[in-house]
Symmetry: C2
């Protein structure tokens, strides 16, 4: 079982198998450096799409010539379409955003004819956080894509988290459905009634081996002590591997709080597409982009 | 300017003036101990309403006999009504919950005839967090009461925060309106359009001297570095004294995250009532109840 990012990197190295990453418009040094590290650690090959001259100037990456291809593109929109095509045709198995707007990349990803989101699939975001002092990685969804998930969308979030955690070696992931209280309150918080259905579906095995429980607050989900103090009992035992937030505001606040105030490192990817998409935000540093690439390469 | 809880306690001690706290059904040692500390530090007198025998057994509190009164009550509902009456009639200027359900206390507080929420006032919750490594207390609203605030309710939250911070010695408090993005998006997040109006009202002086800005994410609100990295400019300069969350889920996740993962201490009170109400949750320890009493006594 992988409990921190170093172990994730090490397990990818030991696997000895490289995923091909199509990198869109990597004009910035942090993207180039993150990809360079993934190549060095033996888990990635790269296809830089667009901005080739700027990438070629980067001396460090040049040491990896055997693991890099270049595809020219006139502008970032063409680069996005071309990188998406590479994923669609199986030439790349991870897509990564460089220095273009998220909207421009998503337009190519979501295109009904040439995109990589299969019809009926839910596009959502999952993040893993390594929080100092916490014993394992904590996964969560969704800090970035779906404003107010429907029950059906939340089912997919659970499914993606469950799959991702099993890939991390957690045989039966514990997933908490977050709410400010442990009470179902259909009147003020209709989604808490939906939680009941999702728990029932999880028990039937709809999401693969995993345990889902809620509603519960974040502390009860992640601390056995807090659970006991409240006099509550949950099959998650205050030991959640992942938490599903009720809305993007809660997810985003969690993400920003652990990174700003707790010194957490994070890795985030888009799920639902034919291949995972690394979609860093402007503020992300090299290490966060590198960890995100690792998560996408698992 | 008060930047941490020790300074708050010290400034109350120097003021040399005691607030009378009506404590409802204090059958638990943590409530008794928190009140005892407030008496010791010279900023509180107490009226224990109900559970008098149990409180009297507590030897430590007995050292404070000169600062304690007892009022008998048959049950916790009667105790709640009686304590609320004491506040209503000016005999107490802080109300504090002991070991009864929040609902039972709120019923007495909200009673249209005998309660202490004046007609038309908004009941909401404000919290102050002392986060290790952060240079000052961070106030926020609302982690506990209003599920999805309307623009009018949010205006009151801003108003309470602005007043409270000025009482803490912050001449012109900086208040951020939180959202997962810095863009107004009326379609998916109608409240972000409301933010615009609130900023305009703040500029006109509706909330007293203060600066309000948003939408912005938590990191941009509280870190000048994050603000600069995103290439944004805000009159808050990444130096917010308070943040207003879009909904209770985001507020509650922030509260649980900083206390569980960042080692933060917090103090929380209800505002809108004729006197502040200290309404601890089951998991709160002595220090959190003590700090809450201090905040209510300012």
């Amino acid at each position: 079982m992988i409990t921190n990012f170093n172990q994730l990197i090490e397990s990818l190295r030991l696997r000895g198998d490289r995923r091909t990453v199509a990198v869109v418009w990597a004009s910035d040094p942090t993207t180039q450096e993150a990809v360079g590290r993934a190549i060095s650690h033996g888990f990635a090959d790269a296809i830089f799409v667009g901005c080739c001259d700027e990438v070629k100037k980067n001396a460090e990456l040049m040491g990896h010539a055997a693991h890099i291809r270049f595809v020219e593109a006139a502008d970032c929109d063409e680069a996005a379409r071309e990188a998406v095509r590479l994923v669609r045709e199986g030439e790349a198995s991870v897509l990564m955003k460089g220095m273009l707007n998220t909207d421009n990349l998503l337009r190519a990803v979501l295109d009904k004819e040439t995109g990589i989101l299969p019809r009926g699939r839910v596009l959502t975001h999952i993040t893993a956080a390594e929080i100092p002092g916490h014993k394992k990685l904590l996964f969560f969804s969704d800090a970035a894509v779906i404003p107010y998930p429907t029950d059906a969308q939340r089912a997919e979030q659970i499914c993606y988290l469950s799959e991702q955690l099993r890939a991390m070696g957690v045989e039966c992931p514990k997933i908490a459905l977050i709410h400010c209280s442990e009470k179902v309150d259909e009147r003020h918080f209709p989604f808490t009634a939906g939680y009941r259905e999702l728990i029932a579906r999880a028990a039937k095995g709809d999401f693969g081996p995993c345990i889902v429980d809620g509603p519960m607050d974040l502390k009860t989900a992640c601390s056995a002590k807090a659970l006991a103090k409240k006099g509550l009992v949950s099959p998650l035992e205050g030991d959640s591997d992942a938490v599903v937030f009720p809305d993007i505001e809660a997810g985003n606040v969690f993400y920003k709080t652990v990174t700003l105030f707790c010194g957490a490192e994070t890795a985030g990817i888009l799920k639902g597409t034919m291949a995972p998409v690394v979609l860093p935000s402007r503020g992300d540093d090299v290490i966060s982009k590198f960890y995100s690439l690792a998560l996408a390469s698992l």
